[in-house]
């Protein structure tokens, strides 16, 4: 379980460019939930995920992961519980390292690292099996440099890396946005498959409202650094994009057009 309570975060505090990105953001995600997150540009989605991961520290509020208060911990001290896949396919892997070296880095996520050889024989079966589940033939290219792979392949490997070891939450920030539609669909299906088979708890940011409703078990919308609505279960079933827009307008008393939400 992961819970964020009343998170406040202002970028550039005390400067003319002061920018409140999180303004009382609260959200609790239960074990096994798959939450999709939507919101217009600048709503604070990435900032929220960065705050959960530890990349930015909040000004106030509290973040608890599995009963441990992690609010003040830096990224690397949360990595044992928090796994993530970035939007940029180049960001989640090291291009100069081989596929097996990247996987070897990930299999030790959040654990101490010693002086024994990083790429161990006993990992090989797991590496091969998980790579072959992608059907990309990568299981025969373990020694190839990551940089030789396409964006979609790299993103698929990033997903595998995030799921090699158990985590309390998997953070996905528009991880299919930089891919062509076909590859994006492949990576999304892979995401659903991995989350379902490993029963992961996940938070996925997407710019597609349609996708947000089709995937996962719960949808939250952020606006100006807060949750404006949060739907799941029966209420969510059968909901359509236009209903979401209606909900948003009702909640905020605001007029929003399709453009500002960039729906897909």
């Amino acid at each position: 379980m992961i819970s964020a309570t009343d998170l406040q975060l202002t970028f550039g505090k005390g400067t003319p460019l002061e920018n409140p990105a999180l303004r009382g953001m609260s959200l609790t995600v239960n074990q096994g939930e798959f939450v999709t997150v939507i919101g217009s540009n600048g709503a604070g989605k990435s900032t929220f995920l960065n705050a959960l991961a530890g990349e930015v520290l909040v000004d106030s509020g509290k973040i608890v992961v599995d009963n441990q208060d992690v609010t003040r911990l830096p990224t690397h001290k949360r990595a044992n519980r928090v796994a993530r896949v970035f939007q940029d396919p180049l960001a989640g892997t090291c291009e100069n390292l081989s596929i097996e070296e990247n996987l070897a880095l990930a299999i030790k996520r959040g654990q101490s690292r010693g002086l024994t050889s990083a790429v161990k024989k006993q990992y090989m079966k797991q590496f091969r099996d998980s790579l072959s589940s992608l059907n990309l033939g990568l299981e025969n290219r373990l020694g190839d440099k990551m940089g030789l792979l396409s964006g979609g392949q790299r993103q698929a490997v990033s997903l595998l890396m995030a799921s090699l070891t158990p985590s309390s939450i998997l953070l996905l920030d528009e991880h299919t946005a930089a891919l062509d539609p076909k590859t994006a669909r492949f990576v999304l299906e892979l995401t659903e498959h991995i989350i379902a088979t490993q029963q992961l708890t996940a938070l996925m940011v997407t710019h597609s409202m349609k996708q947000a409703l089709e995937v996962g078990s719960r949808t939250v919308m952020l606006h100006q650094g807060q949750v404006v609505f949060d739907i799941s279960g029966k209420e969510r079933d059968g909901l359509e994009v236009k209903d979401l827009l209606g909900l948003f307008e009702k909640q905020r008393g605001l007029q929003v057009d399709d453009d500002s939400l960039l729906l897909g």
């Binding site: 990224t75 990595a79 960001a91 090291c94 291009e95 880095l105 959040g110 002086l115 024994t116 050889s117």
Partner: protein, 300 residues
């Protein structure tokens, strides 16, 4: 032609600068941390080893202390960057400048001569080799041992974490790697190797001098870049071998250049030649690919 003594002399210094190039490979290539501390940690290693040897220490222990001193200097640079957020290049310049004073303090005067003292080389002279072959043999052994250790380290869990830190720090953090600690460890390791090189240099030259560090960074870079041009560094072990080859080729090239009377070069031109060579080595690969590009386009 190069005399036999000049040839072995070039090999000897080449092997020492190979150690410097290892250090620069770690900072510049593995960590992407442009570190100029080496201009201070090279004479630091020399000073520590020379003073301790003069004080009656076992030369290998004195050399070990030189490594530790170099590591401490590197750690200072890295901590200035990691903890105090000073730009890496500037942090290293600060340490380098500070080391000038430190080195003078350690030696108590601008230079310390080691004539007649027992050094790491002394026992090897009894093997019956030619006088000028001894340092080459010993330094070759040292270089190979260091190469193998570094190679093993870079393949280890910690070494891989260090490589990830330099290549993609955000990803490294997300994998739970304390990137700040990795930078401190790596820059310390790098300068430890440079301290070792300084200690060996002082022992083979018979003196430590406070000015002997001037330009070491450029020579090390020349070796690194030259080696990479000769041997494409696609793997860690190739990159490490390239450091040694680059350093030896560089020293041989310098020896030939100084030896060729027609060129009219003198020892004091060394730094100028080095700077020109480094510039060429940095620019040439780009020029080469451009030419190749043009040629292939014409064919097409």
């Amino acid at each position: 032609m190069l005399s036999e003594i000049a040839f072995y002399g070039a090999l000897e210094t080449g092997l020492i600068y190979g150690l410097v190039a290892f250090g620069i490979y770690i900072s510049f290539r593995v960590l992407d941390f442009p570190d100029l501390t080496v201009d201070g940690s090279f004479p630091l290693g020399a000073a520590v080893a020379a003073v301790l040897i003069m004080g009656g220490w076992n030369p290998w222990l004195a050399t070990g202390m030189a490594i530790i001193a170099g590591m401490a200097a590197g750690a200072v640079t890295a901590l200035l960057n990691v903890k105090l957020k000073i730009l890496n290049l500037l942090a290293s310049i600060l340490t380098m400048i500070a080391l000038y004073s430190v080195n003078l303090r350690i030696m108590g005067r601008p230079n310390v001569a080691l004539l007649g003292e027992e050094t790491v080389l002394t026992p090897w002279y009894e093997l019956g080799l030619k006088f000028h072959q001894v340092p080459v043999l010993l330094f070759m052994v040292v270089a190979v041992v260091v190469l193998v250790l570094l190679w093993r380290f870079m393949k280890s869990e910690t070494g891989l974490a260090m490589r990830a830190t330099g290549a993609n720090p955000r990803m490294a953090r997300a994998q739970g790697i304390a990137t700040g600690s990795m930078i401190v460890l790596g820059v310390a390791l790098s300068n430890g190797l440079v301290g070792l090189a300084g200690a060996l240099f002082a022992q083979s030259q018979g003196a430590a001098d406070v000015t002997m560090g001037v330009g070491v960074i450029v020579i090390g870079l020349a070796s690194l870049i030259g080696g990479e041009a000769v041997l494409t560094p696609s793997t860690v072990v190739r990159a490490l071998i390239a450091c040694i080859i680059g350093a030896i080729v560089y020293r041989l090239a310098i020896a030939f250049a100084l030896n060729a009377d027609a060129l009219g070069l003198k020892a004091q031109d060394l730094n100028l030649i080095t700077a020109v060579l480094v510039t060429l080595a940095i620019v040439l690969p780009g020029v080469r690919t451009k030419i190749a590009h043009r040629l292939t386009r014409k064919q097409a």
